[in-house]
């Protein structure tokens, strides 16, 4: 089955071509079937591959397709690498991807049939790029996928391109991603210069040979991290992700929550040895991850747009994953990627169902009491909230608790901050839940009249994701409760960096119980707080003051960037336009033209029409040439 791995990205590519080229001719149902079918088929193949990979003792296999770049001693094949990590990501991408495709067939049904096919074409192209990203056997292929997903993200954020704000959001996402991509690209170049290769096994082998204390590895590690920070929305490049909510909600669920934004985590987990060998960079990763987690969580406390809350929550959870990577808990980070993909996709799809029922309304102040109108959405959304908050027994609890425990081992202060972030997460998620689903309805009568539960194509993915959000955590049980299947499964991927990890103290079982109990207790208390505050929420319409206002305005980070980067850049551009372009280059070019024109007008007078004069001029000219030639000799 492994040698057929190329089929996995090929099928979505085929779907993209069919939908993209035939968008004018395909009916909506056909476009939906092609789009969803391609990803579903890819999921089935991924599942077969996964079953093969998960047998103990499986060795990573590289499936080469053709030579991509061959220059001098540098050879970059177009090859897929199948190992435990890529097989797991295949399952997440195609699995969550197919659910979201199915969901989209209903959610996007109001589009014109051309727009519908275009939407599925983009979505399939995204899945294709993401699969290339995780399947690539070298950094260049990863970069191809990396750019592909960035492009699809841009296309899908600006899917409703007639709205200028949406287009601006798309451009913002693209530009921010490009800043990160530059770091990634420089990292690849550094790798080529120092290791002479970009394929994973060779780079890791040579890095391991250099060992700790090398000057090159931290440089590569930090450059790759810049790329990861751009793609995975970390400080200071996170502001594009909340704006990316301009796209259709299923896109937010698939690209801006479950898959694309976890590419940075995938990259660092893949390059684990580079980071293990550069402890200083690891610390930077952990600090930036934690800072992002806290900052985004505080902003999420006071957002009124249902999707913005979820967006900041995503940024915050991504920060959590980077924290895990930074403290060297690579397995835990991947575990959190997986559980987060389940519950965040669930929450986004749930919010999409709510927005659908509300006729496009996204402000939670206009909602309320949706519990009785939309029972399935309500229950699944509640499960998502419980999972992300970390209620014991649900998937989020296991992954988040493991991150907290690993952080506790490496740094107690970071642990405290991470715990507070976890409490904030629980608080804003339940604030969102209570304002949206409880209390009384605050929208217009017309909206109330139209409230309805969404059709099966929407509720079935919700139910499947809800089930996964509940049971997904049991593959990574903490040591006190049993045995982590995931840790054992992923062990070969992180084996190369094992010899360099400093003897890692293990938590005693008592401490582990204590940490788990503490965080669960605090989370439950926080949820009760949120319940008492927001259960009967009334929007009094008063503008917020003080710190709440600062949070509502996202710490004014956008304004800050505007003032220190965008405005000076605009001024510089205007200077270039006015001074350099218009009065410099333009004047020079026009001056040449005008000079030639004026000169010709003068020379034209010589053409008197007197043939005798012409001949005379010719003879004089020849004589002058002779004299010059004579003098030069």
């Amino acid at each position: 089955m492994i040698h057929l791995v190329w089929l996995v990205p090929f099928l979505p590519l085929l779907g993209f071509l069919v939908n993209g080229l035939g968008r004018r001719y395909l009916s909506k149902s056909l476009a939906g079937i092609v789009g969803s079918g391609a990803v579903l088929a890819a999921f089935v193949i991924s599942l077969l591959i996964f079953l093969e990979v998960k047998t103990p003792g499986f060795q990573a296999q590289v499936v080469p397709l053709f030579d991509f770049i061959s220059a001098g001693s540098l050879h970059i094949p177009f090859a897929f690498q199948v190992d435990q990590l890529s097989a797991l990501f295949l399952l997440i991408i195609t699995g969550v991807g197919s659910l979201i495709h199915i969901y989209s067939t209903s959610y996007m049904h109001d589009e014109s049939s051309e727009g519908f096919a275009r939407y599925f074409a983009y979505l399939n192209l995204f899945v294709f790029s993401m699969l290339i990203l995780v399947l690539g056997a070298n950094y260049v292929m990863m970069f191809i996928g990396w750019e592909g997903v960035g492009l699809c993200s841009y296309l899908l954020i600006g899917f409703w391109f007639k709205n200028t704000n949406y287009n601006n959001a798309a451009k913002k996402a693209f530009v921010m991603n490009r800043i990160g991509d530059l770091g990634f690209l420089l990292g690849i170049f550094t790798m080529i210069v120092h290791f002479g290769s970009v394929s994973f096994p060779e780079v890791f082998e040579r890095a391991a040979a250099l060992g700790e204390g090398s000057k090159v590895i931290p440089v590569i590690a930090i450059l790759l991290f810049v790329g990861a920070a751009g793609k995975s929305a970390q400080l200071p490049l996170y502001t594009w992700l909340p704006d990316a909510m301009a796209g259709p909600t299923p896109v937010s669920a698939l690209i801006h929550a479950a898959t694309m934004v976890t590419a940075g985590i995938y990259m660092i987990a893949r390059s684990n040895i580079l980071y293990t060998l550069a402890p200083s960079i690891q610390t930077i990763v952990a600090v930036i991850g934690l800072a992002t987690a806290v900052l985004a969580a505080t902003i999420a406390l006071k957002q009124d747009d249902i999707k913005k809350v979820l967006a900041y929550s995503t940024v915050s959870q991504l920060g959590y994953m980077f924290l895990a990577l930074g403290v060297g808990a690579y397995t835990t980070a991947v575990f959190h990627v997986m559980t987060h993909a389940f519950f965040k996709a669930l929450l986004f799809l749930g919010s999409g169902s709510v927005i659908h029922a509300m006729g496009g309304e996204q402000n939670i102040n206009k909602m309320g009491g949706l519990k009785k109108y939309m029972p399935v959405t309500h229950v699944t959304f509640l499960i998502g909230c419980l999972a992300i908050a970390g209620i014991p027994g649900l998937s989020g609890f296991f992954s988040k608790d493991e991150i907290l425990a690993e952080t506790f081992i490496s740094n107690k202060l970071m642990y405290a901050i991470a715990l507070i972030t976890a409490l904030m997460t629980a608080f804003y998620m339940f604030r969102l839940y209570y304002i949206t689903f409880c209390g009384k309805f605050r929208g217009t009568h017309e909206q109330e009249h139209h409230l309805h539960e969404s059709p099966a194509a929407i509720t079935i993915p919700l139910i499947i994701l809800a089930v996964l959000s509940v049971v997904g955590g049991y593959i990574g049980l903490p040591e006190v409760l049993g045995h982590s299947v995931l840790k054992e499964y992923l062990a070969p991927v992180f084996a190369p960096s094992a010899p360099f990890v400093h003897a890692h103290e293990h938590l005693s079982h008592n401490t582990e119980w204590l940490l788990m109990g503490l965080s669960s207790l605090l989370v439950i208390i926080t949820i009760f707080f949120a319940r008492s505050w927001y259960r009967n929420y009334e929007d009094n319409g008063e503008p917020r003051t003080g710190i709440a206002k600062v949070l509502e305005n996202k710490w004014y980070v956008d304004e800050l960037y505007d003032a220190i980067i965008v405005k000076p850049l605009m001024m510089l551009s205007r200077f270039f336009e006015e001074a350099i372009e218009k009065s410099g280059i333009d004047r020079l070019v026009n001056g040449v033209g005008r000079g030639v024109h004026w000169g010709s007008q003068q020379v034209r007078l010589l053409q008197s029409g007197q043939v005798g004069f012409y001949i005379f001029a010719m003879v004089i000219g020849m004589v002058v040439l002779f004299v010059i030639g004579f003098l030069l000799k």
Partner: protein
Amino acid sequence: MPVQYYIFLSIALFCIGVMGVLMRRNAIIIFMCVELMLNAVNLLLVAFSKMWADAGRVDAGGAQIFVFFIMVVAAAEVAAGLAIIVMVYRNSQSVDINIMNRLKN
């Protein structure tokens, strides 16, 4: 005979040609003067060819090839030039080159 004689003769013929072209207004005379200049050059080429041949250079005959070329070109030029002059005469009953001023504009 020293080669200088030939050179002086050529210069004289050439200058006569130049002056004729510059001063006369009859197109046919100008034409003849052009021929005179060409043949002055021919004479010079042949003279140099002879000089180098006397000095023992085997490839000295090469200059005479030029002479043939110039003769061929001159013949072609005469054919084209005379045709033009005939046409000018038919149109204006004159071979005065100042008639050509009308070509302006």
